[in-house]
Symmetry: C2
Subunit: 414 residues, 2 copies
């Protein structure tokens, strides 16, 4: 008798997974090591940005009051009394009709409240003349106009991106508190699996899921522990899984979760005393995706079919790992696009189709079955077709998960 | 007299930059080191995928001909003569009304041409009965249905993503030829710059551009050589730039490219005998972005203003580095979105505004000036507003460059 499993919707599966995530703490790292990590402290401005009124242009700092009435027929003269570059501070204070030559980024001198750009001046022997009046604070970058001292600029839980690094450097964070990264293990199961160096023999295939998941983790900035390939023997597999589960925060297995005679993971979960959150999801591919929790640690049982394995990782493992780090953004970026092909056959399960997205249209990236490998490499997105009784047609607008946009585009259309 | 520079359009600037890119060769790396690199060889299928006809389900392999006429009132019986898991090959050949119990992924036995799923059978003492006829090849994953042996599956110049890794593993590429990565140097110029550990003093700011570019390069999978911060002295700066340019394929400087009195890079380019491709681009921020070439090496003179520096890197440095590696996709991914705010003031230059994109609407990510730092960290996209005489309005559809989508989304809306 085959075990009957009840499929649950993807959103419910996701909720169950995320409900088990607990924070694993944080650590201090050097600023230069922090790119790609999750902030475990908010970035608080230790100073205003800019820290002083400064010149956004190369030109002359003046008192705006002295420019009143200037025009083409009434040029007003200024005597240039100093010359400062960025990083320099003038020791002088402007008096009436005095100017200081000032470079971009330099602090406005005492008394000055406007900057005249080079191209707005005519040089004379004594200094410059101008032909238009300037308002107070014209051409001035105001202290604190970008950020004010004490402000929480970036929240805890944000990904440290290049701009975050710029902010951290600006505020003198030579070290920064980031979330620790969960220890992730990978174990590929299946007697059919060969190593990448092995010759193909009848009935066997090379293990592609293991290396693929390593790369999916690398894309998130994670390293992982490899537990090799386990053959489909219950006792032996149990020992390997138990050891791996003890040593990791999150163990990802591939294969062995279906209802086949050598699919031992359900039995192993039971022996481990693990709580199975679900073992059937209303999605294609990857309906056999199983997630269990033992001693507060995740056991992700992904399908052995590459496309299903890939999708299971991105839909469930990725957000779980992010939540363990306290990340604010747990989900794949999503948009809508025009479907480039018909999917006339309805499917009761939600479909996630590996696809190519060009910013407007989204089309399947090739052969579309759960055992497909080529379309994973070719795609940069997943088309999401909700389950139900209807098909979908070319030029319908559909949901798209963006997954692989980092490669970029082959055309510049601006 | 201020030097008068002629701005050129962004697309022309990009063309000039890319016109100078030369390939820098390739190298072999281990499969596990290849994620994120650019393929320097096409991936050629060394075998069919799947490599043999196999079962996509747990069930029974049969000869379809034996199922003809099966129905609820005429169940047909099969004697089960063998039992194979994935990776196993049956030594038996099916005769009339024989079946072999077969697991997902296992090779179809000799004589079999269809698979009956467990749930389509009733077990008996001798074997199974079925209640419907099966067509030839029903429930069979056909040899080569995903990829055929000899096929070029992925082109040279593609980014190695997790799916590419799966393919490389499938075809036994334990090593893979990838493009060498250009040696990139970073030099921050400006007497106003302090290190991240320094206390703020009047007139000075901490160097944020240097660490930011390191992170922009890391996002592309690059490491770089740091040439520290150079003060604004012509002779000294010349020596540092010359050394750095000699040691790198691409030297990125920040600051010093405008028309200020201490902006020495134009003079340094001249002394180096470098060809200046342009020194003014019709864009905001970053109009002073300057690109030169000396001895076949790039000299990118980015603005010292953080937002301008950031944009200059992504618009010009990124595609140049990718082209030196023979990448097929050189440009930032692009889409269209609904503008979330008014930009009523026209600008003759094309604007690139750091923005937050939620898959539908795009809005400025905060303070919008070339010296802004905070909005770089907060944004995950750039709004592109073409230069001209018109403004733009909330709910206009505008072009968007996706840049930072990797952080993901805070909501699951499926």
């Amino acid at each position: 008798m085959v075990e009957k499993r009840m499929p649950i919707p993807v959103s419910e599966a996701l909720e169950r997974v995320l409900g088990e995530a607990s924070l694993i703490g944080d650590e201090k790292v050097e600023l230069e090591e922090s790119y790609g990590r999750i902030l475990a402290e908010p970035i608080v401005a230790s100073s205003d940005v800019p820290p002083f009124n400064r010149s956004p242009y190369d030109g002359y700092a003046i008192r705006s009051v002295d420019s009143a009435g200037a025009s083409g027929t009434n040029r007003i003269s200024f005597r240039v009394i100093d010359h400062i570059g960025a990083g320099e501070v003038s020791a002088k204070r402007l008096s009436a009709n005095e100017a200081i030559r000032i470079m971009t980024g330099a602090q406005l001198p005492e008394g000055a409240d406007a900057v005249v750009m080079f191209e707005q001046t005519v040089e004379t022997e004594q200094g410059i003349t101008i032909r238009k009046p300037f308002e107070a604070l014209e051409n001035v970058s105001l202290q604190g106009e970008d950020v004010q001292k004490g402000e929480v600029v970036i929240d805890c839980g944000s990904l440290i991106n290049p701009g975050t690094i710029a902010l951290l450097a600006t505020f003198g964070y030579s070290q920064v508190a980031v979330a620790k990264q969960p220890v992730v293990g990978i174990l590929s199961t299946g007697t059919e699996l060969l190593g990448v160096d092995d010759e193909l023999v009848p009935g066997k295939i090379r293990n592609s899921n293991g290396p693929m998941i390593v790369a999916q983790l690398k894309r998130m900035g994670f390293r992982c522990k490899m537990y090799g390939m386990s053959i489909d023997q219950l006792d032996e597999s149990y020992e390997v899984v138990k050891k791996a589960a003890d040593e990791t925060d999150c163990l990802i297995t591939t294969g062995g979760v279906s209802v086949g005679d050598f699919d031992f993971l359900p039995a192993i979960y039971e022996r481990l005393g693990a709580e199975v959150l679900f073992n059937k999801v209303a999605m294609r591919p990857g309906s056999v995706t199983t997630v269990a929790v033992a001693n507060g640690r995740y056991l992700f049982g992904l399908s052995g079919n590459p496309s299903a394995c890939f999708t299971g990782f991105e839909l469930f493992v990725r957000p779980a790992l992010l939540k363990m780090m306290g990340a604010g953004k747990l989900y794949l970026p999503q948009t809508k696009a025009v479907l480039g092909e018909d999917f006339t056959k309805a499917n009761p399960f939600t479909r996630f189709i590996r696809a190519s997205y060009d910013g407007e249209t989204v089309s399947p990236a090739g052969f579309n079955k759960s055992n497909a490998v080529s379309s994973i490499a070719r795609g940069n997105a997943l088309i999401v077709l909700p389950g139900g009784s209807r098909g979908f047609h070319r030029s319908d607008t559909v949901d798209v998960l963006l997954l692989g946009m980092e490669e970029g585009a082959s055309k510049w259309r601006l």
